[in-house]
Amino acid sequence: MLRLTGQPTERAFLHKVMEMSGQDLLDCLQCGKCSGSCPIASETVAGPRRLIARILAGMKDEALEDATWWYCVACGTCAGRCPVEINMYEVATALCEIAEAEGVKPSEPDIHLFEELFLKSVQKTGRVRELQAVMQYNLRTFHPFKDMVPGMKLIFKGAISPKEMLPGGGSDPKVARIFSRLAEKE
């Protein structure tokens, strides 16, 4: 049950999301064109409209735990069709940053894990080593043999080299500094 009392704090979360994302969610008509457009909206993933509805309703916890923004691949389809030009992937970033700052546990740990491994790889070497990141992910999620068959095929065809899966590679100190500088500022 949502119990509203008219306190100004009720809208604090909404305004924070609006400010961080630069998107005017108060314009939202709740027409649902975004969720209809969204490739990942499904029975289980609510889609942008309901996420916005939750933010507008001040349902902060529910919004931060909503799977939608974890799933968001920033395809931009909803943004292009939205009658009030709300860009949802900007909202997703804002929610991710708020969740991170407030220590909310990722509701989609596997997506989170992959993205984290990915960024670690960037931080370490400046460029991401895809296969390495994928292998690490598969190991960490206890599916070491996921996509083994196509992987082997690709190796067989010479498309990829098994060496690329091994850890290692050079480093890019400049990129590492970008990470640390931005971390400092926060």
């Binding site: 961080m20 395809c75 970033t93 997506i111 895809e130 994928v134 400049k174």
Partner: protein
């Protein structure tokens, strides 16, 4: 014509055929590509999702590097890298505070004057169908292809400013110029699931299956893409594994008379070789 070239991480990894064919095609078209020195990852979707400033900074870092080159345009085969760099440049221009913050993080000043192009956009606008047609040595007669643009090239339109997000045609024009026949279908910009491929494989499989099924229904011989992630997803996550998913640069290379091997056509899971042989395009 000269341009700076930003391959992006994938083109060093799983998408070498895209990299090789892109470089070869540009060379054939007289476009001198010069790699951005010491380029780094643009942050891709993980950075965009998890840390806005980091995402902007990583893109800005590469913008700054490209500004050290003596070329006006950056050409980017990877659509996500393209959109990130383009978007970051616009964000910096619009917000002086952000610019100051990011310039501090990347230890460089950013002029923001670089012309940022996707490879497809660059070829469509600067070379055009007529320019491509002139280079064709082996027209792709009899080849019916389904052009697939994916999301990041065209969406959101106010960010990329390229082609029509619902029904783009620039790749169609290039492929037609090669002598191929293109399928007029409605899945040109339906999402393949992109970066969810590793963590939410089933979601991606559902999306890709549907796209390839429609290509089959339209009697396409191959799906043609301009994105390595689209290629990987569609190639790996389709049913039956019979629908070749090729880079548009590979087809350009073929039409320009390059060999299937050099273009990496043998590296795909769904092999196009049998089909291409049957059409007499490769021997």
């Amino acid at each position: 014509m000269k341009a700076s070239y930003y391959p992006g991480c994938s083109l060093e990894g799983t998408a070498k055929p895209y990299d090789h064919s892109s470089r070869a095609v540009c060379e054939a078209l007289g476009i001198g590509l010069e790699d951005i020195p010491d380029w780094s990852c643009c942050g891709s979707s993980p950075a965009l999702k998890m840390n806005k400033d980091l995402s902007t900074a990583l893109a800005a870092h590469n913008l700054a590097l490209s500004e050290t080159q003596s070329v006006e345009d950056v050409v980017i085969p990877c659509p996500f890298c393209f959109r990130r760099l383009l978007s970051a440049q616009a964000e910096l221009a619009a917000d002086p505070d952000l610019k100051a913050r990011i310039e501090g993080a990347v230890e460089a000043e950013i002029q923001g004057t670089t012309g940022i192009h996707s490879l497809l956009g660059f070829l469509a606008e600067r070379v055009g169908a007529d320019g491509v047609r002139k280079k064709v040595q082996r027209p792709l007669k009899g080849l019916r292809v389904a052009p697939y643009y994916g999301c990041y090239l065209v969406k959101p339109h106010d960010v990329t400013g390229f082609d029509d997000p619902e029904n783009p045609t620039s790749m169609d024009d290039l492929l037609t110029a090669l002598g191929a026949e293109t399928v007029d279908w409605d899945f040109k910009t339906e999402c393949c699931g992109a970066g969810l491929a590793v963590s939410k494989t089933e979601t991606v499989r559902d999306l890709c299956r549907r796209i390839v099924a429609e290509a089959v229904h339209q009697k396409a011989d191959a799906v043609v893409v301009a994105c390595q992630l689209c290629q990987a997803n569609l190639d790996m996550r389709q049913d039956g594994g019979a629908m070749p998913v090729l880079y548009f640069t590979q087809l350009m290379g073929l039409a320009f008379g390059m060999s299937a091997k050099d273009l990496g056509l043998k590296h795909h899971l769904a092999s196009p070789m049998k089909m291409l042989k049957a059409k007499g395009i490769v021997s």
